[in-house]
C-alpha cells in the first residue's frame, strides 16, 4: 500500500471528502439502507481497533464491547445533558467533542485493563478482559444516572454517514500508520516473540498497554456513534456476544490484516440483514466458521495474500 500512495495523509483526506459527499447524498437514500451502512461503518471501527490489540499485538482481548459501552454512555450522557441546557440547535457542534470524550474515558478503561496484561497471557488475559466487560455492564445496570437496566433513550440522532465514515477513515489511518512505521513494527515483534522483542530493546509492556489504550479509544468512539445512531442503549446491548462478534471479525479477517478485517466486518454486518435464518443462529454459525477456519484456513477466511514460496534450504 505505502508504495503506491506515498503519503497516507492524502488518502485520509480523500476518504474524508468521500464521507462528506456520501453524507450529502444520504437524504436521497432509503433510511433503512443508510442505517445498515452506518452499522457497517461502526463495525469496521470496532474490528480495526480490536485488530490492533488482538491481531497486530497478539493479545487476546474479549473486552471490546465493554470499551464500546463506556464510549456510548459517556457521549450519550453528555449530549443528553446538553440537549436540555443549550437546546437541540447547537447539538451537532457538540457531537464530535462528546464522541472524543467517550473515547478518552474508554481509553482510560483500556489503560486499566492493559495493566494486568503485563502479567497475563493468552487464556488468562481473555478471562480478565471478559470479566472487565461484564463488570462494566453490571455497573451501568445499577447506576441510576445511566438509566440502570432500562438504559438511556431519547439520545439525539446525530450519527450520520459523514461522521461515521470520517471516523472509519481516521481509525484505519491511525492503526495503519502506527503499524506501518519503524516504531509500529514493535507491536508485531511483541506478537511474534516477546522475549526476542525485549532483547532487541523494545518494551513489550509499553507496546501492549499502548495497543489497549488506542484500541479502547476507538471502541469508545464506535460506541458513541452507535448510541447516537440507535438513539437508545441498554447495558444488554454490550454483552459478551457483542465482544465475541468483533473477535470473530478479526479472526475471520486474518489477525493483523486490515483489509481482511474490514471485509469481514462488512460481510458479518450484512449477513444477518439479508438472511433472517442467519440472524437467529448467528452465534452457532460464527462458532462453526471459526472451527472450520482453524482447520482449513488458519491464515484467515478473508486473507487472500499470496502465499510465498519457501526458499530452498
Amino acid at each position: 500500500m505505502s508504495r503506491i500512495f506515498k503519503d497516507p495523509r492524502l488518502l485520509l483526506l480523500i476518504a474524508i471528502a468521500g464521507a462528506v459527499v456520501a453524507g450529502l447524498s444520504a437524504d436521497k437514500m432509503n433510511p433503512y439502507y443508510s442505517g445498515v451502512v452506518i452499522d457497517i461503518g461502526i463495525a469496521i471501527i470496532l474490528a480495526v481497533s480490536l485488530n490492533l490489540i488482538n491481531g497486530h499485538t497478539g493479545q487476546f482481548s474479549l473486552g471490546h464491547a465493554g470499551f464500546m459501552s463506556v464510549g456510548a454512555y459517556v457521549s450519550a450522557m453528555i449530549t443528553l445533558a446538553l440537549q436540555k441546557s443549550i437546546g437541540p440547535a447547537a447539538l451537532p457542534w457538540a457531537f464530535l467533542p462528546a464522541l472524543v470524550a467517550g473515547g478518552v474515558v474508554a481509553a482510560l478503561a483500556g489503560l486499566l485493563v492493559g495493566v494486568p496484561s503485563l502479567r497475563l497471557k493468552g487464556d488468562y488475559l481473555a478471562i480478565v478482559t471478559l470479566g472487565f466487560g461484564e463488570i462494566i455492564r453490571v455497573i451501568f445496570q445499577n447506576v441510576e444516572a445511566a438509566g440502570a437496566a432500562s438504559g438511556l433513550s431519547g439520545i439525539p440522532r446525530l450519527t450520520g454517514l459523514t461522521w461515521t465514515f470520517t471516523l472509519v477513515a481516521v481509525t484505519v489511518y491511525v492503526v495503519g500508520c502506527l503499524v506501518n512505521s519503524t516504531y509500529g513494527r514493535g507491536f508485531i515483534a511483541v506478537h511474534d516473540d516477546e522475549v526476542a522483542a525485549s532483547s532487541m530493546g523494545l518494551n513489550p509492556t509499553r507496546y501492549k498497554v499502548t495497543a489497549f489504550v488506542i484500541g479502547a479509544f476507538f471502541a469508545g468512539i464506535a460506541g458513541g456513534l452507535f448510541a447516537h445512531h440507535k438513539t437508545s442503549i441498554t447495558p444488554q446491548v454490550f454483552d459478551f456476544m457483542k465482544s465475541f462478534e468483533v473477535v470473530v471479525m478479526v479472526i475471520l479477517g486474518g489477525m493483523g490484516r486490515t483489509a481482511g478485517v474490514i471485509l469481514a466486518a462488512i460481510l458479518l454486518t450484512l449477513a444477518p440483514e439479508f438472511l433472517r435464518a442467519v440472524a437467529e443462529y448467528r452465534m452457532i454459525i460464527y462458532a462453526l466458521l471459526i472451527i472450520f477456519m482453524m482447520i482449513a484456513r488458519p491464515q484467515g477466511l478473508f486473507n487472500f495474500e499470496r502465499k510465498k514460496k519457501p526458499l530452498a534450504h
Binding site: D7, P8, R9, V174, C177, L178, S181, T182, Y183, G184, R185, G186, I188, A189, H191, D192, D193, V195, A196, A197, S198, S199, M200, G201, L202, N203, P204, T210, G256, K308, K309, P310, L311, A312, H313
Partner: protein, 257 residues
Amino acid sequence: MIAPLLELENVTIRFGGLVAVSEVNLRVGDGELIGLIGPNGAGKTTVFNMITGVYQPTDGKIIFGGKPTACQKPHVLTKRGMARTFQNIRLFGSMSVFDNVRAATQLHRSHGIRQALWRGRSHQTSEKEVEDRVLELLEVFSLQDYRDELAKSLPYGGQRRLEIVRAMATQPKLLLLDEPAAGMNPSEKEDLMHLIEFIRKRFGMAILLVEHDMKVVMGICERIAVLEYGRKIAEGTPKEIQCHPKVIEAYLGAAAV
C-alpha cells in the same frame, strides 16, 4: 586500571534444587572476543540469560559498563549496549527479513507514535535513515537479496546470520552469540567465524561467543572460559585451554558418557 565492559562476580543461579551456574567469575574488556565453552547443560545459555536480564542471579553481581545490571529488564540492558542471539532461533516469524532488522533499530530512535501518525518530513527522513542502515547491515551478511522474504522462509544458515544482524542493529558494545554456527556445515562455519572477526573489527564491539566446535573457537577467540556443571573449570588463551588437564577430562568425560 579501567573497569572491564562486563564483569561477573561469583554469579550463581539455582532453579529449585538445581544449581545451574555456580560462583562464576568472568571479565570481558572493550573489543575483546571471548569464548565460552563447555559440555551440554554446562550452563552457558543460562549465563547469557543472566547477563541479559532474562534471569536474575540468585547470588553474585553482574556489572556492565561500570554499573550493576541487577533487576533491570532485558530491554533496558539492550539499551545500555548489549545484544544477543538465541541458540534456538527466535526471529520475528511473521515479519520480513528487512522488518526483523528494522524493529531492532527502534530503541535508539526518538520517533514514536506522534511522528508515525503525523507523517511529516522528519518522519520520512528518519525512516529513510533506518532503511539505509538496515540495508547496509544486511549487505555485510549477504542477506540483501532476501530483504522482502519472510524471515521464517530463509534457509537455516541465513536465519542464524539474520539473528546476528538483528542484534547488531541495536548497536551493542557487547554482542552475545549463543552457538551462532549450530547446524551449519564446516565450510559455512568457517565463513561465519571470519565474518564474526570482521564485524568485531569493523564495528568495534566486544563479543562473547558460545560455540561447541572447538576448532572454530580456538581459531578466533583471544581468551576462552570453560564451564562444566555450572562451574568455571578453566580460563586462558586457546593454547592454554587446549592442554588444560581439567578441560581434556571434561570433554573426554562428556564424550565417554
